[in-house]
């Protein structure tokens, strides 16, 4: 086969491919997928794989919440995430020793519950005079005129992160306030912290601070079934710094986050990780593994099958036995076993494993095709002219199988993508990568399906399905062109 023939044939093939609507749809999808994968660091968070496993990085996010757009479909609306940085806050200095930081929060009508919590972080303190250490107090001013004291005069250190909704002492303070308003009793905050009601409801007590609370109401009922109090709230953080010359409080990086009950485009998982970013990044691994595995196993299968057919006789017999041995080893269990014993698995190792257990079918088909080609006269002629085995296999037989190879490559991508996802799902994946299988693995481990966290389960699988569909569309279009009987339709 000459180069000109190949070029001519390719042109003809392109012409025909253009007429296949499904094939074109597949190519468009593929281009979109590649774009999404390539731009992942720019459209989402850069270096996501490094951050994915550090739970500290995701601390400012609510946990297990659905995407924001889900509100369009529910009657009970879920508040979105709101974050303030120092330039968006009102920071005042009423006196030399005081700093007052105020964050407005509007709890709009129609929403079902207030924020899941409030996180304040990045207050930097340099302490030179420990006896005069700065202290802070935190209040929530409500639209009904009441004020919830969250923190009262606690020492401020440079590692202070204030976590309303996760801190037991703050939840106890909310409870003390609640009992005070409803029943008029004054509880001891330290004792309240031991109260089983507080211990049981550390996370949910935040909602009562954003609920209707009037004298005479039952505190227990409000905790169990808070009735939202809509309106404008104000969070006030007061820092007292008695010795501003010695002890410096730097709040340039301060971040106040009102944790939402919904988040972003795809919600969050049990660590508060942004699932949208994870899914975008997962497309990279999926595409790379899918294409790499299918290309490698097709190439190996083709060369193996053709060689086997061409050599014939005992060599063929022997090579086919090896093929059968590989085919009859149950692959997924063995893959799991190898993955489990090796320990640290890299992506390349997974590719290798999937190729080792994935070339057999193609080799068989290639062999049967090559058996026919082998009998043709020009092969005999080439041999008579003194061409070596390698030359005949690579120059004369393999190029004829090339178009077929493209269809096989495309059609075997979905299998490879699913195989990688399956391994990751079982917990045998590259721990440094973010993959759809691993997201689903975490979902399964946290029983997301039985808790109804659909946003955690649906998108990764859809991603796998879209990648699969893309290559199936391309593959079947190729198949139709190469298999003329189907083309008539």
């Amino acid at each position: 086969m000459r180069w000109v023939d190949v070029k001519e044939g390719f042109k003809e093939f392109l012409e025909e491919f253009k007429r296949e609507k499904t094939g074109i749809a597949g190519v468009i999808l593929l281009i979109l997928l590649v774009l999404v994968a390539l731009t992942a660091p720019y459209t989402t968070i850069p270096d996501l794989p490094d951050k994915w496993r550090s739970s500290a990085y995701w601390e400012d996010n609510p946990k297990n919440v659905p995407p924001t757009w889900y509100n369009m479909f529910t009657s009970q609306k879920l508040v979105p995430q709101v974050a303030y940085y120092s330039d968006e806050l009102s920071i005042t200095h009423p006196s030399n020793t005081e700093i007052l930081i105020e964050a407005p929060y509007s709890f709009s009508k129609g929403y079902y519950l207030g924020p899941q919590g409030i996180i304040i972080r990045n207050i930097n303190v340099t302490l030179n005079l420990p006896s005069e250490a700065p202290t802070y107090s935190l209040y929530l001013e409500r639209p009904d005129g009441k004020t919830v004291p969250l923190v009262d005069n606690k020492p401020l250190t440079s590692s202070t992160t204030i976590a309303v909704g996760r801190d037991a002492a703050i939840s106890a303070n909310i409870y003390v306030w609640l009992v005070n308003v409803t029943e008029g009793r004054e509880l001891d905050p330290l004792q309240a912290q031991m109260d089983p009601i507080v211990i049981m409801n550390i996370n949910t007590l935040v909602s009562t601070a954003f609920a209707r609370v009037e004298p005479g109401m039952n505190a227990q009922d409000i905790i169990n079934n808070p009735e939202p109090l809509w309106g404008d709230y104000k969070l006030v953080l007061k820092i007292d710094n008695p010795a501003p010359d010695q002890n410096k409080v730097i709040i340039d990086d301060i971040k106040i986050t009102f944790l939402g009950r919904s988040y972003g485009t795809m919600g969050t998982d049990y660590l508060g990780r942004d699932l949208w970013a994870g899914i975008i990044w997962g497309s990279r691994v999926s595409l790379v593994i899918g294409i790499l595995v299918s290309v490698l196993s097709t190439v190996i299968g083709l060369v193996y099958g053709v060689t086997s057919a061409y050599l014939g006789g005992n060599a063929d017999e022997f090579m086919m036995r090896i093929n059968e041995i590989f085919a009859s080893i149950p692959s997924l269990p063995i893959l799991i076993l190898i993955g489990a014993t090796v320990g640290h698995v890299t992506l390349m190792f997974i590719v290798l494993l999937l190729v080792i257990f994935g070339w057999m079918g193609i080799a068989r088909i290639a062999r049967s095709m090559a058996l026919q080609i082998k009998e043709q006269t020009y092969i005999e002629a080439a041999r008579a002219l003194g061409a070596g085995n390698g030359r005949i296999i690579f120059k004369h037989i393999l190029p004829q199988l090339l178009p077929y190879a493209f269809a096989v490559i495309a059609l075997s991508v979905p299998g490879a993508v699913i195989a990688e996802a399956s391994l990751s799902f079982l917990g045998i994946g590259d721990p440094t990568a973010v993959t759809w299988g691993q997201i689903l693995n975490a979902a399964q481990a946290q029983a997301a399906t039985t808790k109804g966290y659909w946003w955690w389960v649906l998108p990764p699988g859809l991603g796998i399905a879209v990648v699969g569909l893309t290559f199936v569309l391309i593959g079947t279009a190729l198949d139709k062109i190469l298999n003329p009987r189907l083309r008539k339709l």
């Binding site: 036995r321 009859s328 149950p330 399964q444 399906t449 699969g468 569909l469």
Partner: protein, 351 residues
């Protein structure tokens, strides 16, 4: 080559492959077992040292203690086969496996330690789930595929093709998770876990099993039947363009008879092969699908064995899978030779 000779050749071939695969599997698993056995031995040694050993040391002195310790270690080494060279162990394991002597597990599963008994409990469950589903898929797939081929290019045909392409790209276990979310969590029609209730007997047990099976079977059928229908369609379209179909049509044979009598029969060999492998594949169960549905069959058993490091059970299960596959290959060859006489004479010599 006659049919019988061909068959004997295929069976011998399968046995040879089984022997080699058994050795490969043994080599793999013995390597894994070696580490866990060493850990177990060290554990038992420490246990002995703390109780019996210290006792001997106190009452009979250093020398007796040293001797007893060495003796006990020797005993343990033999017990865990740590005294044998690697290849000897592999050989022993492979021979025992071929004799179907799989040994026992360290912790009881399904109330027994015997690997063969454990497999005997799990296999019928996988058969029940996946074979039921596969049979539904075959019937549905062939029927719909033939229909699509008859009306090629119709809305039905296009719809089926699109559905097939979509489901081909879906991981079955993910579809299972989604169906659990929709039908079990949201709508509450099916149970969230397919684990059987062991307390029920008789009719109540049957009802329980059917209730627990419904969703996994539905999932399997949903994901698989499209592909089947599509493949059947493609094979049938090819066959329907053959000359003998045209001849039959010209003769005035009724269309129904042409489709089911002539075309489907000619298209049978590849479809039968598909059926055999689908049925055999169904016995193995799908590891992840069973995990998702928490169904107590072979697949989930395999996973449990891996988690608990039960090498004997793993070897037993893997061996079982391999035998099944090879039996399927032989069976498919048999049927092929039966349905397509050409295989026996020409091609088999080259196979």
């Amino acid at each position: 080559m006659g049919y019988l000779k061909y068959l004997v050749f295929r069976i011998l071939n399968a046995i040879l492959v089984l022997l080699i695969v058994t050795f490969i599997i043994s080599a793999l698993f013995v390597k894994v077992a070696e580490q866990s056995n060493l850990a177990k031995m060290n554990d038992e040694m420490m246990q002995w040292d703390r109780t019996t050993g210290q006792n001997i040391l106190r009452t009979q002195g250093q020398d007796v203690y040293e001797k007893a310790k060495a003796e006990y270690e020797q005993f343990l080494r033999e017990k865990y086969e740590l005294n044998l060279p690697y290849w000897q162990k592999v050989y022993n394991k492979a021979v025992r496996t071929l004799k179907l002597d799989f040994g026992t597990t360290t912790t009881p599963i399904f109330g027994t330690n015997n690997v063969s008994d454990i497999i005997k409990v799990a296999v019928p469950r996988s058969i029940l789930l996946f074979t039921t589903a596969t049979i539904i898929v075959i019937i549905l797939g062939i029927f719909l595929g033939v229909r699509a081929a008859r009306h090629a290019g119709s809305v039905f045909d296009r719809g089926l093709s699109i559905f097939a392409l979509l489901t081909y790209s879906l991981p079955m276990w993910w579809t299972g998770m989604m169906f659990l979310l929709i039908f079990a969590f949201k709508l509450g029609w099916f149970p969230l876990s397919s684990m059987f209730d062991p307390q029920l007997t008789g009719w109540e047990h049957v009802k329980d099993v059917i209730y627990k099976l419904a969703l996994p079977v539905f999932t399997y059928v949903f994901v698989v039947f499209g592909g089947w229908a599509w493949t059947t369609r493609n094979i049938m379209i090819g066959t329907l363009q053959e000359d003998f179909i045209m001849a039959a049509r010209a003769k005035g044979v009724p269309e129904h008879k042409i489709i089911y009598g002539h075309a489907l029969r000619a298209a049978a060999p590849p479809i039968v092969t598909m059926i055999i492998f689908a049925l055999l594949g169904s016995l193995g169960g799908a590891i992840i699908s069973e995990l998702v549905f928490n169904y107590p069959g072979m697949g989930r058993l395999y996973w449990v064995a891996l988690q608990q490091n039960e090498t004997n059970l793993l070897i037993g299960l893997t061996y079982f899978f391999t035998v099944l596959y090879l039996a399927g290959v032989v069976l498919a060859d048999m049927v092929y030779g039966f349905l397509d006489p050409r295989v026996k004479v020409g091609a088999s010599a080259k196979m």
